[in-house]
Amino acid sequence: MKLRKSVAVSENGFVFNASRGDSFSANPTGARILDWLRDGKSEEEMKTLLLDLYDIDETTCEKDLYDFLKVLKQHNLLDV
């Protein structure tokens, strides 16, 4: 699972998929996950990073990450 090469993410969370012309807006947590995906991080690695970085319990972290990745797939932003 990796971010498509055609997807650009700016520092303030603006996301552009050049292959389809779609643009998106991500909040800081979302933008951070997109960066990790570009780096090829696995779901498990990202979960650990989130738990290290944020004041969050494991259940919420797992649930929200799962949901976010589903949404990215739905928007065709991931190479699966």
């Binding site: 807006s25 909040n27 800081p28 996950i33 919420t60 976010f68």
Partner: protein
């Protein structure tokens, strides 16, 4: 010393940007959390009384009433409000309006009994509605209550009651009419344009068994056109003046009913309800100026009765609730399940209720479908609402729910919750307890042969 301070978490969110038609109001920038009601923290109210919870503000009820009353009383010398029980018949609410000087306006024997038990004198309970039995008529006549006749069957029934009791009922007829607003509300009362109303008036006067003391109309609900009230007032005044001219009878009151819009937003409307709802002054100007110009001698101006309900109480009611869960629908939309649904918030069927988070919230928003907790497909509180990122356990405040929800709510699937009134000193009072299984089942009886089973 090095500290390992973790960042405040906000759930990850990504939103597709669509170029659409420019919105002249611009995008909504952030949400203001609604953390307190009349000085009491929403969090504390929920901790004490549970969630979901209805909260009413006595201060807002009184302020709204006084604003409405003065709008009319400053324009017309003889004004009387009658509190529409069906809009909210919690006894505490009714008594606030009665303390402010409002009579009672009821549409059933149940409401009539409630008004009597609240201590309203019989002659200050206006009995409206199409459903009055002979027994209801007898009680209302004995109590000298003004009875508003809805149809000819009622008129004849009341004549029989009058004969039986040897008393002259105090009556008005309900008149329906074309006020230029569609659809015409012609299911209640007698029609003005077709002559039905005049025929009913003649019948009452010529049979000489009742005292025709008033004329009543109620031209619609959530009326955004104030001009319709001017039309209605002119037609009512025309009837009253004709009665005076032909029979020398003074009509003591004209009851213009209710139907004033609240500041809620109706489904399907483009503009926000708070921006388009006429003020009390706009309604009052149309009604009072028409009445004053109608041709009554100044000493014979009839009492003007108003029965507006919704506009007097909607703003004073809040529903507090809690997020049960978040989920994602098959088309990618966010869905949030609340612990209140259309069972409690009946008005969700026709309003796009304003909903605020009750705690500090993210500046990021998501388009969300807001569901209630019922295991029924109809339980949708908002089909689409832009909300900040809500998490399980977060609390919200639904605004302007004072009218109809606490009377039209359904005991369906779950129990109805507590209702709290915050008094003018900021003290909360439980005015209706949450229902219990015992309370609900006390009226049931199970036949002996169904009392046991073996599974």
């Amino acid at each position: 010393m090095e500290t390992n301070q973790k960042l405040k978490y906000e759930r990850p969110v990504i939103k597709q940007l669509n170029t659409g038609v420019t919105n002249k109001f611009g995008p909504q920038m952030g949400f203001m959390p609604h953390t307190h009601i009349d000085g009491i923290a929403v969090k504390d109210l929920i901790n004490t009384y549970g969630s979901p919870l209805f909260v009413l503000s006595e201060r807002t009820i009184r302020q709204t009433y006084q604003e409405a009353f003065s709008a009319f009383a400053n324009r017309y010398p003889n004004v009387q409000f009658a509190w529409s029980y069906k809009t909210n018949y919690m006894n505490a609410v009714c008594n606030i309006f009665h303390q402010e000087g409002a009579w009672a306006e009821v549409v059933s024997r149940f409401e009539y009994e409630k008004a009597l038990k609240n201590g309203v004198p019989g002659d200050k309970i206006i009995f409206n509605g199409p459903d009055k039995t002979t027994d209801d008529h007898m009680v209302a006549v004995q109590n000298n209550s003004p009875i508003h006749i809805d149809h000819l069957d009622e008129l004849y029934s009341l004549m029989a009651v009058s004969q039986k009791l040897g008393k002259r009922p105090k009556v008005a007829i309900r008149v329906n009419m074309d006020t230029g607003v569609q659809p015409i509300w012609d299911r209640f009362g007698f029609n003005y344009e077709s002559g039905q109303a005049w025929d009913a008036i003649l019948k009452i006067i010529q049979t000489d068994r009742m005292d025709l003391v008033g004329l009543h109309c109620h031209i619609g609900t959530f009326m955004l056109s104030t001009n319709a009230y001017a039309v209605a007032t002119a037609k009512m005044a025309d009837l009253a003046l004709n009665i005076k001219r032909q029979f020398g009878i003074d009509i003591q009151y004209l009851d213009l009913g209710g139907g004033f819009a609240s500041r809620n937003t109706l489904k399907g409307t483009y503009l926000n309800g708070a921006d388009v709802a006429p003020s009390f002054h706009e309604y009052a100007e149309q009604i009072c100026s028409t009445l004053i110009r109608a041709g009554f001698r100044s000493e014979e101006l009839p009492l003007l009765i108003l029965e507006t309900g919704r506009a007097l109480i909607d703003d004073a009611g809040f529903m507090l609730g809690t997020v049960l869960a978040n989920k994602r629908l098959s088309d990618g939309r966010r869905a949030t399940i609340m612990d209140f649904g259309v069972n409690l918030l009946f008005t969700a069927f026709w309003y796009e209720h304003t909903i605020s988070p009750a705690q500090e919230c993210s500046q990021y928003t998501e388009d969300t479908v807001l569901y209630g907790p019922l295991c029924m497909n109809i339980d949708v509180v908002r089909e689409s609402i832009r909300l900040p990122l809500l998490n399980k356990g977060d609390q919200v405040v639904v605004h302007r729910v004072g009218a109809y929800n606490m009377t039209q709510w359904m005991q369906f699937i779950s129990l109805r919750p507590n209702i709290v009134l915050i008094d003018t000193d900021g003290q909360p009072h439980l005015i209706r307890k949450a229902e219990t299984v015992e309370y609900l089942t006390q009226l049931e009886s199970t036949p002996a042969h169904l009392s046991a089973f073996d599974l």
